[in-house]
Symmetry: C2
Subunit: 481 residues, 2 copies
């Protein structure tokens, strides 16, 4: 057995040795994803898809609670629609897949596989919208999109990914802005309350905003290796698209006017973030709310009288409590092998129960994030476990937050920062003049980008750290996925 | 008001006048679907999508309860994979969309937008499967597929549609057959128990089976106009694909062997069936379990003291009971306009409540399928309404079943049938020799196809109705969508 256990752990490269290989090992060993025969496209396997279902469930409920409804728009978009909004087509045209033939006939107009659906949705909204009475339009779709990527990594950047895209229209600029921020806050809840991933929220720079947006808001998370991940974005699109697509309505004053427009999305990329924030060298660590299985019961010496009965009793008790529980009473593998297996899979709690435990009216519980054995009484064990899951969810968030705080620092001197950045990843706070020139220089000289202009501004001085001219904003900079 | 009401109803073409226009009117007036800028592709609008969500929710729960898990496979499939199973490529190649360019580069190998995913899934299963211990593989995906159709109709036949596709592998032929039939029975439950659509279940003929299947099973429903609709299929694929894709596992005896394979799907087509089975000249009629909104409360003389309070109280009461309820207290439209509006939308029950009703401790309830006013007491009204919804669900199924039975007949004489069929649509039961020749002749001479060889066989004689040779099966024949 000992040998097998060792082998097992050995198959995951330690993150200190090679973070990128560690990430891939965790994903492949856990069968979350596999590579597909088309380069850059991934297969999402059942255990990975179950994580996406948790995100969908949580987000969809929040969308509906705020008045949004789902719909579905076609996968294929005519080239002429894609090109209607100038900035948008420049942003997306280089990375789309083209359908040129259908049913053995060459098409008279090429179609793109949607990279995002603003254009086709605006085309339809123009047809549907009549009066201010019809507004707001609060719609969303869950689908996949295709963006031809040159270098890809499972979940983080793939040529096809799953996401949701919300597309709303509003009578006034204020309402559109309010919606944009509301949806960003729902994303923050997905990250923080469901996935235990702390995020910094703020606005993207002009350079980093969505192609065709008036302004883009983002949530940025810090990974274990100190790199940032853009985890969700919400765009105030102003009237860019509504004018390009001639979406008009009769206003309260009887005059025709253009509505204000937002779009917002989160994707399977979040799962990459989940792994890179919480997992360790033994494999996945899943926050209880995300875990497809929250508790696994492993009977010890299960051939002894009464053990399996007690384990089954415990299983029923936890299930009745609404806990997602599994009982592994297979005889092919030893308890030790099972411990490793479920640690790798990131099940939040494992309960061990054997003859001596039963004698003492107790069980052993091991939280995946702490890996310490705790003796718990069988009396009210369902309450105890439910409580442990809650605490663990909270502890994981706090731990990730502490990691982020330990890796967030104020840049005192830009020259120093340039030298240090490779050895000091993390969020660097600095002041910025707002000029593209400095933003480009930062990228070129450090590899870091402006992740966001955070809503929570601090005054770190009145000069741009990069050029010395008067500063406009405090920014978070980091190298990013 | 009277004028407006009339106008309203006038916009739906009566089904007796033009069934096909009636269908389109019901769909467009209710904003279930709209045409998209790409011919043959549809936009599913929120009210239509909400119906799909009900189907998804019901089916997904049954899939999971029978041990299936969801996953996601790439949208694009290399041409070389599509062509691996001979019958399959012949069936699908003429109707696929081809991606030839990605990111401004011509691809070295063309990709098809998935018309169904057997090929790419089998490719991956071949990579994953090792031992009989890994079996069964019980997986499903929810996605869209593209099949380039020449003539299309919303929901019924479109170049892109939403569906789920289950793909399973089994150790033995018996298990695969059992799975195939189990999933067909789950589909029967979706149709009958959720959608109140009675179906005939049975096997497809060799001609009508899925491209690459060993045998295909189907559920067939009868529409209002007497035409049949194939509403869901389940395929026993035998070892056709597992051999073509070299999917092998080590069996219990230590020998390598090929697993047995099934696939099964239902799609947004079911929504077309829902409309054509239940709706009428006033618009949609939705079975309560399918209805996004089950009850609408319309206050009468709502400016009178106490009316809105009572209506709101009623709303809270029904909501607390778990009923999907809306209260329409808008002042822009009269109650009469609202009645028409919600009748068109097919809300199962509307409750009218005004000052006189309140005085008498009562309300009026109108079931959408009967359109008769019923006086109901305000005492225990939540129980009364819940009961009415159950009864209505059941009545709608029984009504549809009675319609099907009234339109199912035994063919006495094939020559007579040929003459009569245009005036006598419906399911025709007859005996068949099993030969393709007779099947082709039937199609050519009557426009009817063999819908299925039903599981419930009856002996209608020992001769094939078409050729007079010895008969093998009783079949259901009909013209179909
Ligand atoms: Zn500067
Ligand atoms: Zn015959």
């Amino acid at each position: 057995m000992a040998k097998k256990e060792k082998d097992f752990v050995k198959e995951i490269t330690p993150m200190e040795e090679d973070f990128s290989r560690w990430y891939t090992d965790v994903i492949l060993k856990n069968e979350l994803v596999d590579y597909s025969p088309v380069k850059g496209f991934m297969v999402i396997r059942p255990y990975g898809y179950a994580l996406w279902e948790k995100i969908q469930e949580f987000a969809d409920e929040k969308f509906k609670a705020t008045g949004h409804k789902n719909m579905y728009f076609p996968l294929l978009i005519p080239e002429s629609l894609l090109t209607k909004e100038k900035e948008h087509v420049e942003g997306f045209a280089p990375e789309v897949a083209w359908v040129t033939h259908g049913g053995n006939q060459e098409l008279s107009e090429r179609l793109v596989v949607r990279p995002t659906s603003e254009t086709i949705i605006c085309h339809m909204y123009a047809k549907w919208l009549n009066s201010y009475r019809d507004l707001p339009y609060l719609y969303n779709q869950w689908c996949s999109v295709v963006r031809w990527e040159k270098s890809t990594r499972p979940f983080l950047r793939t040529s096809e990914f799953l996401w949701q895209e919300g597309h709303t229209l509003h009578e006034t600029e204020e309402e559109a802005q309010q919606e944009t921020l509301q949806m960003l806050d729902i994303y923050r809840q997905v990250a923080e309350d469901l996935m235990a991933i702390p995020v910094v929220t703020g606005q993207k720079s002009e350079k980093e905003k969505f192609a065709g947006a008036y302004s883009t808001y983002t949530m940025e998370a810090l990974m274990h290796d100190g790199q940032a991940l853009q985890a969700g974005t919400s765009h105030n699109l102003g009237q860019h698209f509504t004018k390009a697509f001639e979406i008009k309505f009769q206003g309260r004053n009887g005059q025709e006017q253009y509505p204000y427009h937002t779009s917002w999305g989160i994707s399977t990329r979040l799962i990459g973030g989940l792994i890179m924030v919480h997992s360790d060298n033994r494999g996945l660590v899943l926050p209880p709310k995300m875990a497809p299985v929250q508790v696994v019961i492993i009977p010890i010496a299960q051939n002894k009288a009464g053990v399996l009965e007690k384990a089954n009793e415990l299983f029923d008790l936890l299930k009745a409590k609404g806990i997602r529980v599994e009982l592994d009473d297979s005889t092919e593998n030893s308890p030790g092998w099972k411990f490793n297996q479920y640690e790798m899979k990131g099940y939040p709690i494992r309960i061990e129960i054997g003859p001596r435990d039963i004698e003492n009216n107790q069980a052993l519980a091991v939280r995946r994030d702490k890996l310490e054995k705790e003796v718990i009484s069988l009396d009210n064990i369902d309450d105890t476990i439910a409580q442990m899951l809650d605490t663990m969810q909270n502890d994981m968030f706090e731990k990730a937050k502490a990691h982020r705080e330990a890796n967030t620092y104020v840049v005192e001197d830009y020259e120093q920062y340039k030298k240090e950045i490779s050895n000091r990843p993390g969020f660097a706070k600095m002041m910025w003049c707002g000029e593209r020139e400095c933003e480009d220089k930062l990228k070129e000289e450090t590899g870091a980008t402006i992740r966001c202009i955070p809503f929570e501004q601090e005054n770190l001085g009145d000069k741009c750290h990069i050029c010395g001219r008067p500063s406009k904003h405090m920014i978070y900079a980091a190298r990013a996925y």
